[in-house]
């Protein structure tokens, strides 16, 4: 039975599958789904209700819905119903006065508040103070405005109650617009395609990835080849030092960079002593902010690539180097013709791996410049994160943020597929030798 052969493997794999399905695949799928909704903090995550608000009416008017109908929706209607009478009694209005209203006005409906008040003034047990009368009158008023309706049918009934002769299409439009929950839409992508910010963000992201990647590769190469030629003790000092940025918790790393570049910090003090312009380099100007963003990420990247390159260099047979020296090769020729060819695969790996991780990295930028000054150093991933989850105004737009993230994934997965081909994935996945 083929299934039984798999049983043991699946058993061993099941914890991993369970966790990965719940907290990896499901979030990814959810993100893909949410990208096609207008879900935000105001629509909530679960379903919503129907509410007609003043803002909504203004919006509908701008969209060309008949103004007369909208005005009537905004009106307060005074209706003497048994419920309203009970409400008045509960609110402590003089029972004799309520009895008067019940006797003479029950079933009557007024669209004008003043007309209703005039009628009330004519009643025998009316209150002395005009203010009390107004309070009592308000208790009979009801407006469709700002009332919550649990579903579309209830909202529809209420709208038709106010506008009995409105055309079907108008009612449909008002009911649909009054929905407060999230709705399906492709508007997020349309908005991203048409927004001028998008292009700027893409340019920023490409610049950030390209600059940081170059820093990572070239500084990594320089460090690895440099330490390769130094005596082991000196080289050891550098490799100890360069592992630190990758080990340091990101918050502390950010604090150290702030100390390094802010007012009163190290560079600031040094620049002041030398008579150079001294200001908060992290926030004060766009070029310095970019430099810091690239250095903050580049140091971590260089730390990664240096280790990788160094271990590849250790694999060079030392006889090859001796032979080249005997043949009279200069140091530069040695690097160019023996060392660099050896590093071809590690360099390719660093480039591909770092492109992916830089594309989606934003923690360091978030904790240092946070995209500032203005939004000049913001990148796609940071903007997506800020849009969806981390916003000063609290206007969290899950849908739009998810749409941005989905576009990042499309780019990322495309690149991964290319890289997997490049790195001969087949070599990594041999079949098991015991088949039972």
């Amino acid at each position: 039975m083929p299934f039984q052969r798999y049983l043991l493997g699946l058993g061993f794999l099941s914890p991993a599958l369970l966790v990965l399905a719940g907290l990896f695949l499901m979030p990814v799928a959810l993100t893909g789904i949410i990208a096609f909704t207008n879900m935000s903090i105001s629509t909530g995550v679960s379903g919503g209700a129907h509410v007609i608000t003043g803002n909504l009416l203004t919006g509908l008017r701008d969209d060309g819905v008949e103004p007369a109908a909208l005005d009537r929706l905004a009106e307060t209607v005074f209706e003497v119903t048994p419920e309203a009478l009970a409400r008045a009694r509960a609110a402590g209005v003089d029972p004799a006065f309520v009895a008067d209203i019940e006797e003479r006005l029950v079933g009557r409906r007024f669209t004008d508040g003043r007309a209703f008040e005039r009628e009330l003034k004519g009643l025998p047990h009316r209150p002395r103070a005009i203010r009390d009368l107004k309070v009592a009158a308000d208790l009979f008023g009801a407006s469709i405005l700002n009332t919550r309706f649990a579903d579309a049918a209830a909202a529809r009934q209420a709208v038709v109650g106010v506008l009995p002769d409105a055309p079907e299409a108008t009612v449909d439009r008002i009911v649909a617009a009054s929905y407060t929950g999230w709705q399906w839409t492709t508007g997020n992508f349309a908005r991203l395609l048409s927004s001028p910010d998008t292009l700027r963000l893409i340019v920023n992201t490409v610049f950030y990835v390209a600059a940081t990647l170059s820093f990572t590769v070239f500084v990594g190469l320089f460090l690895a080849i440099g330490t390769f030629y130094l005596p082991p003790a000196t080289a050891g000092v550098f490799s100890v030092l360069w592992l630190l940025p990758r080990l340091t918790p990101v918050v502390l790393y950010a604090v150290m960079w702030k100390w390094f570049t802010w007012e009163g910090g190290f560079v600031y003090t040094a620049a002041e002593a030398l008579g150079l312009p001294a200001f908060n380099y992290m926030k004060g100007s766009v070029p310095t902010a970019w430099t810091i963003v690239i250095l903050v990420n580049g140091f971590i990247g260089a730390s990664f690539s240096m280790i990788l390159f160094s271990s590849a260099l250790k694999a060079i047979p030392i006889q090859q180097l001796w032979a080249s020296e005997v043949d009279g090769a200069s140091r530069w020729q040695q690097v160019r013709y023996i060392v660099l060819p050896q590093l071809r695969w590690p360099i390719l790996f660093v480039v591909s791996y770092q492109t992916l991780s830089l594309l989606s990295s934003y923690q360091e930028i978030w904790l240092t410049t946070n995209g500032g000054p203005g939004r000049t150093t913001s990148v796609w991933a940071l903007e997506s994160f800020n849009t969806a989850l981390n916003n000063y105004t609290g206007d969290l737009q899950y849908g739009l943020g998810a749409a941005m993230a989905v576009m990042l994934v499309v780019v990322g997965v495309t690149l991964s597929v290319i890289y997997l081909r490049l790195f001969r994935f087949d070599d990594l996945v041999g079949r098991p030798k015991i088949e039972f």
Binding site: A16, V251, F425
Partner: protein, 274 residues
């Protein structure tokens, strides 16, 4: 002799490139026990005042509760990652699993998957299942995010175990499970240890998940604690204090680094290569 002399310019260039790091980490140590006059970075007085936060909760709030929480947080994550990766990696390396190629490719792609895509979805999943704003939720998410890496590393280590060991065990009548538990697992101990070390350092430094997935909860880990303390608008604006708290936070990592330097270099370099 001539050889060493000619290397001086190289060493100097390297030192220059490393200067920012050297300065930052040197002052991370020095500034916690000294004071410098205004307008200068060179300290002129020794003091222990910046470490008062350890005994006096009025300085930055109680530091020991976040420390205990962080320990718990890290230990739980390491435990989950080790258990799940060691079984999952074994299945992918040695056992018959349907869609094996597909699963392996999936693990690789997940490893490189942009976290920002996940975090929005994870946020919603946690809200649905009611683990939003809880330590359990953050632990589960962090462990899950580390799993693809863990599984991939463990698969690599299992791949190097000779098949003969397992075949001998099976020949002697042991079940595959017993073979794994008693014969194979001891063979991959270095892998488990490396993974534990890596997971511990990663979890210890984690900031974003607690911050985003448990923003208003009553627990703090040291990363969020340090971030709150080092707020530039705070009344205790003082980088010497921030660095003291930061150094306290990083001490366990520095200790691990001092003891296992060789091994850490291998994990952080070769590890991600798979």
């Amino acid at each position: 002799m001539r050889r060493t002399l000619s290397l001086w310019p190289l060493a100097l260039l390297l030192a220059l490139a490393s200067a920012p790091i050297a300065i930052m980490y040197l002052f991370l140590l020095v500034d916690t026990v000294t004071n410098a006059p205004p307008g200068s970075a060179i300290p002129n007085a020794l003091t222990l005042a910046h470490w008062r936060f350890l005994v006096d909760p009025r300085v930055t709030g109680d530091v020991w509760r976040p420390t205990v929480t962080t320990l718990l947080f890290t230990a739980s994550i390491v435990a989950i990652v080790l258990v799940v990766s060691s079984t999952g990696g074994y299945a992918l390396s040695r056992l018959n699993v349907p869609f094996r190629r597909f699963l392996l490719a999936g693990v690789l792609v997940m490893h490189a998957f942009p976290l920002v895509t996940l975090i929005i979805g994870v946020f919603l999943v946690l809200q649905f299942v009611g683990l939003y704003n809880t330590l359990t939720g953050v632990i589960l998410v962090k462990a899950a995010l580390m799993l693809p890496f863990g599984i991939w590393i463990m698969k690599g280590f299992y791949d190097t175990v000779p098949w003969e060991i397992e075949m001998a065990g099976v020949q002697d009548g042991a079940s595959r499970f017993t073979v794994w538990r008693r014969l194979v697992l001891p063979q991959v101990k270095p892998g488990l240890f490396a993974l534990a070390l890596f997971a511990a350092i990663d979890a210890w430094g984690e900031y974003m998940l607690p911050r985003i997935l448990a923003p208003s909860s009553d627990f703090q880990v040291l990363s969020t604690y340090l971030n709150a303390v080092s707020d530039p608008d705070s009344t205790t604006y003082n980088f010497n204090l921030f660095k003291s708290v930061g150094l306290f936070y990083m001490l366990p990592i520095l200790a691990l680094y001092a003891i296992f330097r060789e091994r850490l270099t291998n994990i952080f370099g070769g590890g991600t290569k798979g």
